[in-house]
């Protein structure tokens, strides 16, 4: 897969993150780097802290300790919409689409942070807003073409089957033209064929747009096939990091997945 692909410098560096909710330690001293153009996977059993990690990167949770450096800038506290402005987009484990809106409109909402005309002009569909919408619509159509969802362009997303909703959600994240795309269990609840499709799309996004992808997933097989590097979390700690081949034979990882008792 990765033949001819150039992995670049560090895009996102996460150092010594500690996150706790009351007495629960969700993340303990977690560090890793995500490099440009790579597909980086965070895996781990249920409750390992995967989603928490994504929420930290996304600016949704604020860790008690540690630093996050994105494109060379270390941030203190950041809100999710600021993350979006900086080129971080994400999808959610349990789909968060606007169910009454069409596929196209959902994808257009992904363009919103890139639109410059204000709310009133957009609502009136007037002047510069009209021109702008045309340009954004073109990009949305490119995404629709890319994800092969032409047939559901005008279908309200609430009526779509699960696998397609996931695809639309990916489309909406792509619409923001992100540098870093966070995918929260993109394959959860899919059948084999849908999973294969989704893998194909993730690889194609990475390949065609050069988007860096950080994903969390508990389906080991899928992750091992498409990721360049993998970090493994267990009980909030990072227990391994490396290429899929390295991680697969790591004894700690095998223990974590098979449930060896922790002394």
């Amino acid at each position: 897969m990765a033949n001819g692909k150039k992995i670049g410098d560090v895009l996102l560096s996460v150092q010594n993150i500690n996150l706790s909710f009351g007495g629960v330690q969700a993340l303990v001293d977690v560090s890793f780097d995500v490099r440009k153009h790579e597909i980086f996977a965070i895996i781990g059993p249920n409750g390992a802290g995967k989603s928490s990690m994504l929420n930290v990167i996304n600016g949704f949770y604020h860790p008690q300790g540690g630093t996050i450096t994105y494109r060379g800038v270390t941030r203190a506290r950041m809100r999710p919409h600021e993350a979006a402005r900086q080129g971080i987009a994400r999808t959610f484990q349990n789909i968060a689409l606007f169910k009454g809106m069409s596929t196209l409109d959902n994808i257009m909402t992904g363009r919103n942070t890139l639109m410059s005309s204000n709310f009133v002009l957009q609502a009136l569909h007037w002047g510069p807003a009209w021109k702008e919408e045309k340009a954004h619509r073109e990009m949305a159509e490119e995404i629709i073409d890319f994800l092969q969802i032409e047939a559901i362009r005008k279908t309200p997303t609430g009526r779509l089957p699960y696998g397609l909703q996931k695809r639309v959600e990916l489309g909406r994240a792509l619409a923001a033209e992100p540098d870093l795309l966070l995918l929260d269990e993109p394959m959860a609840g899919m059948n084999l064929e849908e999973k294969e499709d989704m893998c194909r799309f993730i690889l194609d996004v990475n390949d065609e747009f050069g988007t860096t992808i950080a994903l969390i997933e508990h389906d080991m097989g899928v992750v091992m096939d498409i990721s360049d590097r993998v970090a493994v979390l267990d009980y909030g700690r990072k227990i391994a990091e490396g290429t899929p081949g390295e991680v697969r034979v790591n004894q700690d990882v095998i223990d974590a997945y098979l449930g060896v008792s922790h002394d």
Partner: protein, 667 residues
């Protein structure tokens, strides 16, 4: 009649042979000259219909032809084409022809092994494909197809990291072609001028139910004369709108959306993807449309289901006006006299129901629709005709460049396929097989003289393999495959598929298998349609536990008896088939299933297998018993085996006396 037709054909051939417009590339240049600004091709891409004018198409074909030549494509070379209907792929066909090559469109959903056979057989050195999926398939078989040297693709997506030097983006090939054209300015025109009407224009592989596919060779004369005859017959014009959505490897697409477009200059539109066909149909509003019966059937089913969900007032309106349409729609379409009151009602119905319905389906502008390929249910056929859609049946084959018979306007009947098309001669051979001769008759099967000799006689008659007869009005009626037609002991003709289709046209009957070869009478197995009969049972508060239970109910048997009696009444009115009425039948205890080997994977009944498998049931049908116990082994979906016990009742039906006046009694 034969004399005049023969002279006309000779004249046509001479006209085609001597005039300048005897090849597709020559027609392209002519269209670019005469109607350069009119659209030639259209494709929906990025949500917008993008067009090529004839002038632009001519430019792109030229660039592509020169680009192919620059890569080493020579006269006589075969160009494999694999993909959905795309303007670039149609242009690639013309480009290959322009340099004297032969396009070989292939079914885009064939698996790699099937493609390998055709590629090996044609020795194609070049392939033009749609996207990564097809590239991957070809790469998989490349080492087994030593002739294949270059693969050209339309969509570069996903191919960024493919470094093979023999892979080319079609844009890159066109670019090279433009440079080549600058250096060799006479090459392209000389290539086109060298083409002749009798040259091989295209090779189409027929899927062939037995043995390996055969490559049907069609000349430019075959394509162009057949296309032109049908254009004149139907008065097609340059402003027709056509949606190209049937596979490019199928002969119909090569006539309806390729040759006819070049001859009459109309625009062909390609859908955005195979899933968006129905939406694209609606946006485009074609005027000239082809669909196999299955598609019309699906559309009708969808309409009926959506009406069930509509508000009560709308349902009432729909049913009232559809009843009006059923009574007077077809007669109005055929120009027959209809009372003033009915005309007014039909006009109101047009505003309230038929117009909006046709608009939703994308049929508002259809002037001419064809259906062919298999028998169409009379209900389906009548539904669309009653809406005022001029849907007609035709009968054709790859070996005929499509047209053998076409129903003329005003002479449309659901059970015949019409009189011979222009310049076509038809005969019924002694064994009942339909044979024909026409200017569209194929040159030969590629590299298969034996098969050619078996199909085409020395003086140009072609065996269709279909049994049929010509009715009193001179219309051809196809009843079955010739090899399946046989005789009862009393000598009456027995056409199993014809009877089975007649039964299957009833919504309550899903499958039927008929027996009669060397027997005293015709007997049948029937499968009820679980959904339709289940629905019917529900409305009557008839409780049942599953298929076997429902199929064994007396009420259901009565339902089927009614259907069989109706079929017998129709048969009684038929001079040729009155003797093959169904005398005894039983409703099978299980649904025929491909997993049990009873149906083929394309869901056709395997009569022989079923006859052997249920030999005791067949014996019972030909005895005087009125029931037969059965224990059958079935394979469940997960692979487990189980047995079903049932006691099947056998029903006997009194045959109807043959009626004298066929036409009236058919009502």
């Amino acid at each position: 009649m034969n004399d005049s037709q023969a002279t006309k054909r000779e004249a046509d051939q001479q006209a085609g042979g001597s005039s300048a417009l005897d090849t597709i590339p020559k027609l392209l240049l002519e269209n670019a000259r005469v109607r350069g600004a009119r659209p030639a091709l259209r494709e929906k891409d990025f949500g917008i219909w993008q067009s090529w004018t004839w002038a632009e198409a001519a430019q792109d074909v030229k660039a592509l032809a020169c680009g192919l030549a620059e890569l080493g494509f020579k006269a006589g070379d075969r160009l494999a084409i694999v993909g959905d209907n795309r303007p670039e792929l149609y242009m690639a066909m013309t480009a290959a022809q322009a340099v004297g090559g032969v396009p070989v469109p292939m079914y885009q959903d064939s698996v790699a092994d099937e493609m390998q056979y055709v590629l090996e057989h044609t020795e194609a050195r070049f392939a033009v494909v749609q996207d990564q999926e097809q590239v991957d398939k070809l790469l998989e078989i490349m080492d087994r197809c030593p002739d294949l040297k270059h693969i050209i693709y339309k969509f570069p997506r996903g191919l960024r990291n493919y470094t093979q030097p023999f892979l080319h983006d079609i844009k890159e090939v066109e670019e090279r072609g433009r440079a080549f054209d600058k250096d060799n300015p006479d090459f392209y025109a000389a290539g086109i001028a060298a083409g002749k009407g009798r040259d091989l224009a295209i090779m189409l592989y027929t899927s062939g139910t037995t043995g390996k596919p055969k490559g049907v060779m069609l000349s430019f004369d075959n394509l162009i004369i057949s296309a032109r005859n049908a254009i004149e017959f139907e008065s097609l014009r340059e402003d027709e709108e056509v949606l190209a959505y049937m596979p490019m490897a199928w002969v119909g697409d090569n006539i309806f959306s390729f040759a006819q477009s070049y001859v009459s200059g109309f625009c062909v539109s390609c859908p955005e993807s195979s899933e968006t066909v129905l939406q694209d149909l609606r946006e485009l509003g074609p005027t000239y449309f082809f669909a196999p019966p299955r598609i019309f059937e699906n559309i009708l089913t969808t309409v009926m289901i959506r009406i069930e969900d509509a508000a009560p007032l709308k349902q009432k309106l729909f049913h009232y006006f559809m009843a009006v349409a059923a009574r007077v729609g077809a007669p109005i379409l055929d120009g027959e006299p209809v009372s003033f009151k009915d005309r007014v009602l039909y006009w109101i119905g047009g505003i309230l129901v038929y117009g909006p319905l046709k608009n939703v389906l994308g049929f508002s502008r259809v002037r001419l629709a064809y259906t062919a390929g298999e028998a169409i249910g009379p209900d389906i056929f009548d539904f669309f005709r009653s809406l005022g859609m001029n849907i007609k049946q035709l009968y054709g084959s790859t070996e005929a460049s499509v047209f053998i018979t076409i129903q003329p306007d005003g002479e449309v009947k659901p059970d015949t396929v019409g009189p011979p098309a222009n310049d076509v001669e038809i005969k019924i051979a002694d064994n009942g097989e339909v044979i024909f001769r026409s200017p569209g008759v194929f040159m030969a099967y590629y590299k298969d003289e034996e098969a050619t000799r078996a199909t085409k006689t020395a003086d140009g008659w072609v065996h269709t393999g279909d049994a049929g007869f010509i009715d009193d009005d001179g219309h051809l009626r196809i009843i079955d495959r010739a090899k399946d037609v046989s005789k009862l002991n009393d000598g009456s003709m027995f056409a199993p598929k014809f009877l089975e289709n007649k039964l299957k046209f009833f919504p309550f009957i899903k499958e039927a298998v008929t027996f009669g070869h060397d027997r005293d009478y015709v007997a049948a197995f029937v499968n009820i349609d679980l959904e339709a009969v289940g629905n019917w049972a529900e409305r009557r508060n008839l409780a049942y536990s599953g298929y076997t239970d429902l199929a064994g109910r007396g009420e259901v048997a009565d339902l089927v008896i009614e259907c069989v009696e109706k079929v017998n009444r129709d048969l009684a009115a038929d001079t040729h088939l009155a003797g093959s009425q169904i005398k005894r039948f039983l409703v099978l205890h299980k649904e025929l299933d491909a997993d049990d080997g009873e149906l083929t994977r394309t869901l056709k009944v395997r009569r022989g297998f079923i006859g052997d498998h249920y030999a005791e049931l067949v014996d019972a049908l030909y005895s005087d018993r009125d029931h037969c116990p059965i224990e059958a082994e079935v394979t469940f979906e997960d692979g487990r085996k189980g047995t079903i016990h049932a006691d099947l009742r056998i029903h006997t039906i009194e045959p109807v006396a043959a009626t004298a006046e066929p036409r009236q009694a058919a009502e």
